[in-house]
Structure formats: C-alpha cells, structure tokens
C-alpha cells in the first residue's frame, strides 16, 4: 500500500479552482519533488495536504496510510504523521520555541496513546536535534520564529520536523531565502530524515535544493495538474529550459484553448 495516494484532487479558494485534478502516489522511503512555475498550485497542494481549511475540496480523494486525509482536521493529520514545513513560518510572540515543540510532541504522543514527556526528558532530545541543524541554544527560549532571520525560520521548520518525526514531510519552498551555507545545513537535516518508513515531498520552484536532496521522482505541476513526471534529470532539464516550454506545450495541447 502506498503511503500517500492523491486521486483526481480538485480544490478551490474563493471560487477559483487552483487544483484541477492532481494525481500522485508516494511510497514510504521515497523522496518526490513537485516543481512548477509561480501560481501553478504547488503551495495550495502542500497546504491542502496539511488540511488548511481555507481551501475547499471540490473533487477527488487523498488516502494517507489508507485513511481519508481530507476528512481530517489539521491536528489529526499532524498526529497521523503529516508534517508541513511552511514556506512562510508564522511568528508567535509569547510562546517559547521549547514550550511550543514540547506541546506539539505531547499532543501527538497523547493522540497515539503514549505517555507525555516532561521538560526533563524532552530538552536533551531537542538539544541533540538542534546541534544537528547548527542552531544556537538561545532559540529554545525565544518566541516561536519571532525576529528570526529567514534562514533561522527555515531551520526551525526542519528542527520541528526532526523532533516530530512524521511519516510524510512536505517541504514548501524550504529553499527560498536561504544562502548556500544555510541551504546545505537544511538539506543535511532533511537527508538525515530519509528512512524506509518515511516519505518526503519537496515542493520547490528552483532546482538548486535538489542538488542536495536528490529526489527519486520529479513531478511538474502546471495550472493545477501534474503534466510531467520523471527522474531527477527532469529537474535539471527544467533548470536548463525553464518552465516555458512545458507550459506552452500544455496550453497548446489543451483542446479548450
């Protein structure tokens, strides 16, 4: 059984159809990338999978681990093992990073019928993961993402992923706003998470992150549909030729045009 099965997914926001029939299958152990031009629906797909309620599902289905993902609330999806690394991580003044992460870990443990962790057990684990991402300890007590630089925010997303250990990690434009050093650290963090039980979906506009996180499959999303799939070489081809050729190909082939 596949870990994630997206079948003919349609989604609208404010009456505009963004996803127009997406099909995608992801198996545990695989890393896939979704590439596409701006406005193609990449982020919408990522957010729909994380169950953001601003999008209305107008058709299709999504099975996660055999369960109906579209029937889940965001917190249920998270507890089942879906994780979204945000393109724009949200600043939350007044809640410390450490407290936030422990609340999340415990919410998930509680959902799974496991015992909650106290700060004494949790902090060493958190510190260890922070070291991996080269994050200073001061981030423990700082408010979530508040006054973090772009790179710090992205690293914080990967830290959360490392701590929450999801079955499916979706990285939404995680490379945007990162310099090359930060990019390498983030990629390292992601690669350390690759495992036979876990699938990773890397959503990106540019190919450069895929030099560091080599995907098994690359899919090209244009105008709400996946128009081409291939191996990692497809990403290089896109980098070379741009999206224009694919886009014009799609539009040209469309009978409605």
């Amino acid at each position: 059984m596949s870990l994630l099965e997206i079948k003919n997914l349609h989604a609208t926001v404010d009456g505009h159809e963004i996803l127009k029939g997406v099909n995608l299958t992801l198996n545990a152990g695989e890393v896939h990338s979704i590439m596409g031009p701006n406005g193609s629906g990449k982020s919408t797909l990522a957010q729909v999978l994380a169950r953001r309620e601003t999008y209305e599902i107008t058709g299709g289905e999504v099975l996660f681990d055999g369960k109906d993902l579209l029937a889940m609330k965001p917190e249920e999806a998270a507890c089942e093992g879906v994780f979204l690394a945000f393109q724009y991580p949200v600043e939350i003044p007044g809640i410390s990073n450490a407290y936030f992460l422990r609340s999340a870990v415990n919410a998930i443990r509680k959902y799974r019928g496991e015992e909650e962790m106290d700060a004494m057990d949790f902090l060493p684990k958190l510190r260890e993961k922070m070291k991996l991402l080269d994050m200073d300890e001061k981030f423990l007590n700082r408010s979530v993402n508040e006054a973090f630089s772009g790179g710090e925010k992205k690293r914080n997303e990967i830290l959360q992923m490392a701590v929450l250990e999801p079955k499916l990690a979706i990285l939404d434009e995680t490379d945007s706003g990162l310099d090359i050093d930060a990019l390498k650290i983030v990629a390292q963090g992601v690669n350390a998470m690759r495992s036979p039980e876990r699938a990773i979906l890397v959503v990106t506009h540019y190919q450069r992150l895929l030099n560091h996180i080599i995907p098994d499959r690359v899919h090209v999303l244009v105008d709400g549909r996946i128009v081409r799939s291939g191996g990692p070489e497809l990403a290089l081809q896109l980098e070379d030729q741009g999206y224009a050729t694919i886009e014009s190909g799609v539009r040209g082939a469309s009978p409605a045009a």
């Binding site: 953001r52 917190e75 994780f83 949200v90 939350i92 936030f100 609340s103 919410a107 959360q160």
Partner: protein
C-alpha cells in the same frame, strides 16, 4: 423605552437614592458616639457630594461607555453586622500560597477569625481600618481621605460617606517585605441586593518595599451585590511597591474600585489589575507622581465573556519633573462582552522631562464583543515625551493553523495564543506568589474562553 417604563425606572432610581439616605443616617447615628469628629466630617462631605451628583450617566464624559442604570436602579442595602460568616473551607479556595499574611473581609468588614496574621517584620501593621481608627486615630487621620478626590467621582464620594472598615497597612521606613500581603474581599450574596464599601489605607514608609494583593471574590447564590471599594496607597520616598487588584466576582456582581496612589520622590510603584469576573466592573487607577523622579507602571489585563462589562479608567497625573509612567493594558473579549480603556494622562506645568507611555491592545474573539479605547493627553509642560497607541485584533488564523498543523488541537491552540497575549501583562509582574496566583487565574479563564469561542465558531 415607553413613557411608562421611564417613569418606573425613575421611581426605582429615586427609591434607590432614598435607600442610600436612610442607610447613611442610620450609620451616622450608630457611629456618632464612637467616631472622631474629622471622620464624621469626611463622611458628611462624602454624602453631601454624592447627594449633589447622584450616580453618573453616559452623558458624563468619564462614563460615556458605561451605562450604570442597572446599578442606579437597584435598591442596594448596607449589610449589617451579625451576618453569617463564610466557613474556613470557603476561604481556603482563595488562599494565595506563599503570602506573608492573609486578611479576610466579609462584605467589607474585617473577619479576624478567618484571617491569618502570619509573621511580619517588627513594626509592620496589617489589620482592620476600623480597629486602627478606634485604637490609633492619629495614624489614620493624616492620610484617610486626603488623597482621594470625592469631587470628581460619585463612587469615591459614596465610599467615603460609608467608610467603616477595610484594610490598614503600615510598612515602616526601610522595612522590606519579601512575601505579599493578601487582602481577600468576599462579597456574600444575600436574599436582597446589598452593597459593601471596603476602604483601604496603605502607608509605605521611605525605602520600604512590599507587595499588596487585593482579591475580590463572591460567595453563594442570591441577589446582586455592589462592591464599591477605595484604596489610598501612599508610597513614601524611594519605596518600591507592587499593588495587585484581582477581580473575580460572579456574574451577579457590580464592582467599582478606585486605587489612588500618592508617590513620593523616586518611589517606584507598580499597579497590576486583572479583571476576570463581575457583571459590570469599573477599575479606576489614579496615580499622582508627586515627588521628583518617580516611576509608575500601570499594567492590566481584562478578560470578558458573555455580557460582562469591564471598564478601565486610568488617570495618571505627573505633578513633578523627571517622572516616568508606563501604561499597558491588554483586553480579551468574547461573546457579548464589552471593554473600555480610558487612558488619561495629565502632565502638570512643573512636570518637565516627563516620560509617559500608554499602550492598549485588544483581542476581540467574537463579532459581538466590543472595545472602546480612548487616550486623553493633557500636557501643560513643554519638555515632555508622551506616546500612546491602541490596537484591536483577532486571533490570527495563520498562527492558529500553524499550531494545529503541529498536532495541537484547536482549543489548546487558541488557549496557547490567548495565553501568549495575556503573558505580555504577566511578564511585567515580578516572579513570586502574586504572579503565580495571577497566572492560574488567567489560565482558568482562558480555558473557558478558548472552548467557548470554538463552540461558537462551530455553531455559526
């Protein structure tokens, strides 16, 4: 409103005023034999002033956002002695762990049998104002009623007319109290509407340091209660004083409190208000920075739900040079609750180099909650820095989704975000028993609101 109901309202209001007059003459007769002349004068002036003004209406600029007709029309009676006392178990629920001592007042009167004196440094006096007036009137006379302005506030006048008991706290020069003094005011519900008038006098000597907590709670089910309370706090030169006003009475309660602070030279005073209970609440905080170099922090949080009305009226007077005042009030309003923040700053002619700041931030959790926020700056000196700002917002959907996407359920996520907002006020309180107690009060109230707003959203 029809002519008929208007007449009825007027009739009930007149009846209510008659009640006050009867109560007052009753009190005068019974107190005449035992009280000093200066107190009698104070009392008479108070009642005379109330007689002139009656209760304020919304036509009064200072009461524009708070309709008191429910208070004016209720025939409140004074609670007489001989009432049944709450049990020790009733009181135990409101204890503050770590407090140095705990004074309990039932319907405004000191209840020695429920109080615990604790161990206080030599010379510190914490007890009943009535006892102090009887035993040592000379200590009280120079302060009682000397700072409060009964001309500008009918409730202050009324409280003064009915001065009987409350807390008397005296901290001598140089004494540092490590643990807080807890003053617990219990309003008991009776089978008729009742009013009580706690009157507190806190005198802190030069270089002294102390924390005083006023905690207002209700007991039992019954008719409405009006608690009209006044505290005069005299902070001597270089003293460091924290004052807490915690309002957690039930939804049958009206509470009008006035904290009048008189600050000496380089005195450092913090007023923390936490309004969580009550039907109609008016919280007056009036510091006068009378000595040079004083610092005043006016910090508050109000959490309203259902039909609660929580009105905060700040009047910060800079009367001397080089003083600083910082007002920070945060409001969280849900349901049909209404909040008011009126932040008035007066910088007198001689108060050069004043640095006054005011911030009011509000979260409205429902379409029917309402906030009125009004800064009012009157500056008569030319070399001053005064800033003010107000914000009104909602829980950020982005933040809510972010938390939920990490597995935190919606109610807990809301509670976390509300608590983060409330923490801005909490963080301005020094670590210690008072802050821990306040934190629990806040958590308790926010849990309720987080759930309620979720239900509401699902219902809509």
């Amino acid at each position: 409103m029809t002519q008929g109901t208007r007449e009825t309202n007027l009739a009930t209001a007149t009846q209510a005023l008659q009640n006050y007059a009867e109560s007052f003459s009753g009190l005068e007769k019974s107190a005449a034999s035992r009280e000093p002349a200066w107190l009698r004068k104070l009392r008479q002036d108070g009642f005379a002033r109330f007689g002139e003004t009656g209760f304020p209406t919304v036509r009064d600029e200072d009461w524009r956002f708070t309709n008191l007709s429910a208070v004016a029309q209720t025939p409140f009676r004074l609670v007489h002695n001989g009432h049944h006392l709450p049990s020790r178990t009733d009181v135990a629920a409101h204890r503050i762990p770590g407090a140095a001592c705990e004074l309990v007042f039932v319907d405004g009167r000191f209840a020695a049998e429920l109080s615990s004196a604790g161990k206080l440094p030599n010379g510190v006096k914490v007890g009943s104002l009535a006892n102090e007036i009887a035993a040592n009137p000379r200590a009280v006379e120079p302060h009682l009623g000397r700072y409060l302005n009964i001309q500008r506030d009918a409730f202050a006048a009324l409280n003064t007319a009915f001065v009987e008991d409350g807390a008397y706290v005296h901290i001598p020069k140089g004494v540092i109290l490590e643990s807080p003094i807890h003053l617990l005011f219990i309003s008991v519900a009776h089978d008729a509407p009742t009013v009580n008038y706690p009157r507190n006098l806190i005198v802190a000597g030069e270089n002294s340091q102390a924390t005083i907590i006023e905690n207002y709670v209700s007991l039992g089910q019954g008719e409405k209660v009006l608690c009209n309370t006044v505290t005069e706090l005299v902070a001597g030169d270089r003293s460091v004083i924290s004052h807490y006003m915690i309002e957690r009475e039930n939804d049958q309660s009206f509470n009008v409190s006035t904290l009048r602070i008189q600050q000496g030279r380089t005195a450092d005073v913090a007023s923390h208000s936490v309004l969580a209970g009550g039907a109609i609440v008016r919280n007056n905080v009036h510091p006068v920075l009378a000595g040079e170099g004083g610092e005043c922090l006016i910090n508050g949080l109000f959490i309203g739900r259902d039909r609660q009305h929580l009105d905060n009226y700040m009047l910060v007077e800079h009367a001397s040079p080089h003083c600083g005042s910082r007002q920070f009030y945060n409001g969280i309003l849900d349901g049909h609750a209404r909040g008011v923040f009126h932040g008035r700053i007066i910088v007198h002619k001689d108060a050069q180099k004043t640095d006054a700041k005011q911030t009011n931030r509000n979260l409205l959790l429902s379409d029917t909650a309402q906030i009125d926020t009004k800064p009012q700056l009157e500056i008569y000196a030319d070399d001053v820095k005064c800033t003010h700002g107000a914000t009104i917002g909602q829980i950020e959907e982005n933040a809510l989704f972010y938390l939920r996407s990490r597995g935190i359920d919606e109610t807990s996520a809301r509670r976390l975000l509300l608590f983060a907002f409330a923490s801005e006020c909490l963080d301005r309180m020094k670590e210690g028993p008072a802050r821990s107690y306040v934190e629990n009060v806040i958590q308790e109230n926010l849990a309720h609101i987080a759930d309620a707003s979720r239900r509401q959203e699902q219902g809509s």
